[in-house]
């Protein structure tokens, strides 16, 4: 959807994805836990909800945008091997004909 805009690089690498997931789970869980205790002590359940939502906003800010920290371990792809160039749009018969033509030319 956003790929066409291409102002940003929208993707994280695999290590970055792992870190991002771990980060937002930790933040939201901790906020919820602290909020539960605070709300229980202060007898106000809205504190619990509010603190969890604050955790949501913080973790959304930290993990949703593709910050450069999450792009430090790019995949090491194999180098492109030199392969014979094959015309993609040709059928097998057309390909054979082409070959014949080439042979004739060389003769």
């Amino acid at each position: 959807m956003f790929e066409n805009l291409s102002i940003w690089k929208w993707h994280m690498d695999f290590v970055g994805q792992k870190h991002a997931e771990y980060l937002f789970r930790t933040i939201i869980t901790m906020c919820g836990f602290i909020g539960f205790i605070l709300g229980y002590v202060k007898e106000q359940f809205s504190i619990t909800i509010g603190l969890t939502l604050i955790g949501f906003f913080i973790s959304a800010l930290l993990t949703i945008p593709p910050w450069p920290i999450y792009a430090r371990n790019p995949l090491k792809w194999q180098k492109v091997k030199k392969v014979k160039k094959i015309e993609n749009n040709l059928t097998y018969d057309e390909y054979k004909e082409d070959k014949k033509k080439e042979k004739k030319k060389t003769k």
């Binding site: 959807m1 956003f2 929208w10 993707h11 994280m12 994805q17 991002a20 997931e21 937002f24 789970r25 939201i28 869980t29 919820g32 909020g35 539960f36 709300g39 229980y40 202060k42 007898e43 106000q44 359940f45 619990t48 909800i49 969890t52 939502l53 955790g55 949501f56 973790s59 959304a60 993990t63 949703i64 945008p65 593709p66």
Partner: protein, 176 residues
């Protein structure tokens, strides 16, 4: 987690799961609370009239008229899972035609943070004390009870009866 939208989706879904868990934990934390409290009631003026209730029919029915004192402290009922209380006072009595009559005479909504220590003196009833016949005159056993409906943030909506009641009798003469 690879794209912006899928990351947003994961964060939001996880937040909602945490919220549901916390809410359920809140419900569990108050499941064993005993919400009964004591109450004291007195009646001051007791009259019974014999009037037609034109809104219903031209039949002449008994209309009770009482004023009451109510002493009850509901502050202890409020915990983090109580949003508001609906307090109501019921009169219960028996007539020859019905074994159980219940009339709600007075009610009050107490929101969280409002004064819930009720010290009411010489209160008039909020609703008419109509009987569906002539069962009030000379009735020796009319019992006032206080109940409240607890509206929580999450969980059940229990209706609890307060401990304590007040029994009074109506005079055997109609007031004109």
């Amino acid at each position: 987690m690879h794209s912006l939208l899928s990351r947003g989706n994961s964060v939001l879904a996880y937040t909602l799961s945490v919220l549901v868990t916390l809410t359920f934990a809140c419900f569990l934390s108050t499941i064993l609370v005993d919400y009964r409290t004591g109450t004291e009631m007195q009646t001051l003026k007791i009259e019974v009239k014999n009037l037609p209730e034109y809104g219903v029919s031209k039949k002449i029915n008994d209309l009770g008229h009482i004023t009451f004192n109510l002493d009850t402290d509901l502050t202890s009922l409020f915990n983090w899972n109580v949003k508001q209380l609906f307090v109501y006072m019921t009169a219960e009595y028996e007539t020859p035609t019905n074994t159980l009559n219940q009339v709600i005479l007075w009610d009050k909504i107490i929101l969280r943070g409002e004064n819930s220590n009720l010290r009411l003196k010489n209160m008039r009833t909020k609703y008419y004390f109509w009987d569906d016949g002539n069962g009030l005159r000379g009735n020796k056993n009319v019992t006032l009870t206080l109940s409240y409906n607890i509206i929580p943030n999450v969980g059940r909506l229990p209706i609890v009866g307060a401990i304590g009641s007040h029994t009074f009798s109506f005079p055997s003469q109609y007031t004109r």
